[in-house]
């Protein structure tokens, strides 16, 4: 776009007429981009810049707006709740991302060659939690985890595995794992759909050739399918990582970060500081750190998996 030479035929000399065509095409291309750009700049770029700028200020409701340099950042790393939230977030990401990716791949491998009706059925089953509202999902899980009337305690007590009710969401040892489980069920839908599509697009002639040459099913998968679905894997890894880092609604609805901050994540803590305590500058500083962490991890994922995509 905008490169006049690329629009000319080989050996054709640029003329005033051609330049005018190129200019008109460039203008129309930019005009087509403009609506999206307006939204992108207005709702992404400007808020990001404001977030970064205000993170250096004491920006709190009812207080003077004053420059405090890196104080918000320094406070953050002395704040035990932030550090606990950071640790919880890393646990959540470290567990959720590999399990979601591996499980999605396994399910997709199992269903992508099925008859279209069966395949659609499984895709619907796994995609259902994605299209179900977060509040509805949270209400159902909260009931299942309920200490007194929950399904989980009922089953475990009935089968003799437990002999007393457990407050699954109220115990620091189990609460975060319950959140991860729910996050897992709501995260696998999209990767499964994507993997089924990606596996369906693997060149069958390569698979046939491999099988003719005596490759085992694992070798076919590892040497033929896996490299071809690597771009999808990269996308799934990045999206799942970002979604896991941004886990907030489930925590707000189920535990409010408790018990004793054992399920607090950075996103939840940002919400708490900004909306409950009105410390917008501090919240924004945490947002900047979160963005940097996500960017670094995404870059790492591109680096690690990106080379595989070009093999």
């Amino acid at each position: 776009m905008g490169n006049g030479k690329s629009t000319l035929m080989a050996g054709q000399k640029p003329t005033v007429f051609n330049n005018a065509i190129v200019r008109q095409q460039t203008i129309s291309a930019y005009l087509f981009l403009l609506p999206a750009m307006v939204f992108f700049v207005g709702f992404v770029v400007i808020p990001m810049v404001m977030c970064l700028a205000t993170s250096f200020f004491n920006y709190s409701m009812g207080k003077p707006f004053e420059f405090i340099g890196l104080n918000n950042y320094l406070e953050m790393f002395k704040d035990q709740v932030f550090l606990k939230s950071l640790r919880n977030t890393f646990v959540l990401v470290a567990v959720a991302v590999p399990t979601v990716t591996a499980f999605s791949l396994w399910v997709s491998c199992a269903i992508y060659q099925m008859h279209a009706i069966k395949r659609s059925f499984f895709r619907c089953v796994f995609y259902l939690p994605v299209v179900t509202g977060t509040v509805a999902v949270a209400v159902v899980w909260k009931w299942m985890f309920n200490k007194y009337t929950g399904l989980l305690n009922y089953i475990l007590n009935a089968t003799g595995i437990l002999n007393e009710n457990v407050s699954w969401l109220g115990d620091a040892k189990t609460a975060l794992w319950c959140i991860i489980l729910i996050l897992f069920t709501t995260s696998i839908g999209q990767p499964i759909v994507l993997y089924v599509a990606a596996l369906g697009n693997v060149d069958p002639s390569l698979i046939d050739a491999g099988q003719v040459d005596g490759a085992t099913p694992f070798q076919v998968f590892w040497h033929i399918k896996w490299p071809q679905i690597m771009p999808t894997t990269l996308y799934i890894l990045v999206i799942t990582t970002i979604n896991s880092f941004q886990c907030y609604a489930l925590i707000q609805l189920l535990t409010s970060g408790g018990p004793d901050n054992s399920t607090s994540t950075i996103m939840y803590y940002i919400y708490y500081e900004a909306f409950k305590l009105y410390r917008y500058g501090y919240g924004n500083a945490m947002g900047v750190i979160l963005a940097i962490i996500i960017a670094l991890l995404s870059a790492l994922q591109f680096k690690v998996t990106g080379s595989g995509a070009t093999d």
Binding site: P35, Y148, G170, G258, N261, F275
Partner: protein
């Protein structure tokens, strides 16, 4: 031709986008309206100007939290209409908040300068939160000598709660209540535990312990649940802890939280001991609504989060007799947490709107006919002593009489102490800690330190 068409399309898209941007000022409120309300009413001015107040002309917005029937659009529309008959120049749009997201919506509105003109809630939000942060209009002119005398005749703590440290009044109150607890009367009867409750609904800490034992002995697995999950209803757990050994939640001047006092620590330890002995239960994941649901289902024998409004809410779903009782106290003289609800005006820099808002508030609260009717709609009790028993002669008379008996036990309204929001989180954390192994001494010290930091930060 194609290029012309492309340019036309692009121009059209840009124009459409800009048109969308151009209407932001007016549509943003509509969008927020959708987000904030479950229902919305806009009552336009009527042409009837027979009793018109020509001096008032403004378009104002009111946001209400779900306080009794003030969450019901049809009911509030009626009030708006009757006000507009006398003030046809005032248009009032009403939007309805809920307690889950309401505070966040107000915060967003404050930062976006899209606050409503009137908001209905209690002093902990209107006075010690938004008022202290300079967002509210001083309502001193509504607090006339007559109003002060009438309200103070009910309780002096009401005026104190509505008045900020700077002397300004950021709330004009309509109604109040005391929060109590309730028992499942049939369960208590079956366990022969009613004997431990006095006729006036009070009981001692010692008798409360005996009642728990009797309930347990009668085969009730879970007598009551100390909920620690956060998100509201904390007045129940606060009153429970404070009353057991006559502790105070704050100092008298409302400058410090005192949950780490010896009396309160003794109360906290007592709860831990009862839970340890299986006489009481705790759930660090349950919020007040979960506990109320367990009570309404008949799963547990008592709730620590009860008032007249909850009784009305659960009246149709319970299959037993929910009997309101006071919180147990060592001396048999409970101090119950109070709830005060009224109106505040956000400072939107428009005198005409502020004047119209004040007029509407005065109509809702002080009008000889509408005032008592407004109180009835809340399901609570009037702050004005002159209104007397607003439920006399209504079908709610007997039910409300049971609750009005507890008004005499109204304790200090300490919700206006600085750092209230941080304190609430610290309170839940403390309860969660003591029930999951941390000593009461350590947990209460952590709580006190968090509160001290919050109070310092609020200065």
């Amino acid at each position: 031709m194609k290029k012309t068409l492309s340019l036309l399309l692009a121009t059209g898209m840009v124009a459409g986008t800009l048109a969308g941007c151009g209407t932001t000022a007016t549509s943003s409120s509509a969008a927020e309206s959708t987000a904030t309300s479950t229902a919305e009413s806009t009552a336009s001015a009527t042409a009837d100007s027979a009793t018109a107040d020509a001096g008032l002309a403004a378009d104002i917005t009111m946001w209400t939290y779900p306080i009794g029937k003030f969450k019901d659009a049809e009911t509030v529309d009626g009030i708006v209409k009757s006000f507009q008959e006398k003030n046809p120049g005032v248009n009032i749009k009403v939007e309805y908040l809920d307690y889950t997201n309401g505070d966040d919506q107000v915060t967003s509105a404050i930062e976006a300068n899209t606050t409503p003109d009137i908001i209905m809630e209690g002093p902990e939000r209107l006075v010690s939160n938004w008022g202290a942060k300079g967002k509210m209009v001083d309502l001193s002119d509504l607090w006339t000598a007559e109003a002060k005398a009438d309200i103070n005749a009910t309780s002096a703590s009401i005026e104190a709660a509505c008045k900020a440290a700077d002397g300004a009044y950021y709330e004009y109150p309509l109604c109040m209540t005391t929060h109590c607890m309730a028992i499942n009367k049939e369960m208590f009867e079956a366990a022969d535990a009613l004997q431990y409750i006095n006729e006036d609904g009070t009981w001692t800490t010692e008798n409360f312990g005996k009642a728990l034992q009797a309930l347990k002995d009668s085969g009730i697995d879970t007598t009551g649940v100390v909920y620690c999950g956060g998100q509201g209803g904390d007045q129940g757990t606060r009153a429970l802890v404070n009353n057991l050994y006559s502790g105070k939640f704050t100092d008298d001047a409302h400058t410090a939280y005192t949950a780490d006092s010896d009396a309160n620590k003794k109360g906290l330890q007592q709860l831990v001991d009862w839970c340890g002995a299986g006489l009481l239960s705790f759930d660090t994941a349950a919020v007040a609504s979960d506990e109320l649901q367990l009570f309404a289902n008949g799963t547990i024998a008592m709730t620590f989060c009860w008032n007249a409004s909850n009784q009305a809410t659960y009246a149709e779903s319970v299959t037993f007799t929910p009997m309101p009782v006071a919180f147990p106290s060592d001396d048999g003289k409970p101090e119950l947490c109070g709830g005060i609800w009224g109106f505040g005006v956000f400072n939107n820099g428009d005198d005409a709107k502020a004047a119209a808002a004040k007029a509407f508030i005065q109509y809702i609260c002080d009008d000889a006919t509408q005032g008592p009717a407004s109180v009835q709609l809340t399901g609570f009790f009037p702050v004005r002593a002159s209104y007397g028993d607003v439920y006399a002669g209504t079908e709610d008379e007997a039910r409300m009489a049971a609750f009005s008996a507890y008004m005499q036990y109204l304790g200090d309204y300490y919700n206006v102490t600085p750092g209230w929001a941080e304190q609430r989180t610290a309170w839940w954390n403390m309860l969660q800690q003591i029930f999951t192994g941390t000593s009461v001494e350590d947990a209460s010290a952590t709580y006190a330190a968090a509160c001290a930091t919050a109070i310092e930060a609020a200065k």
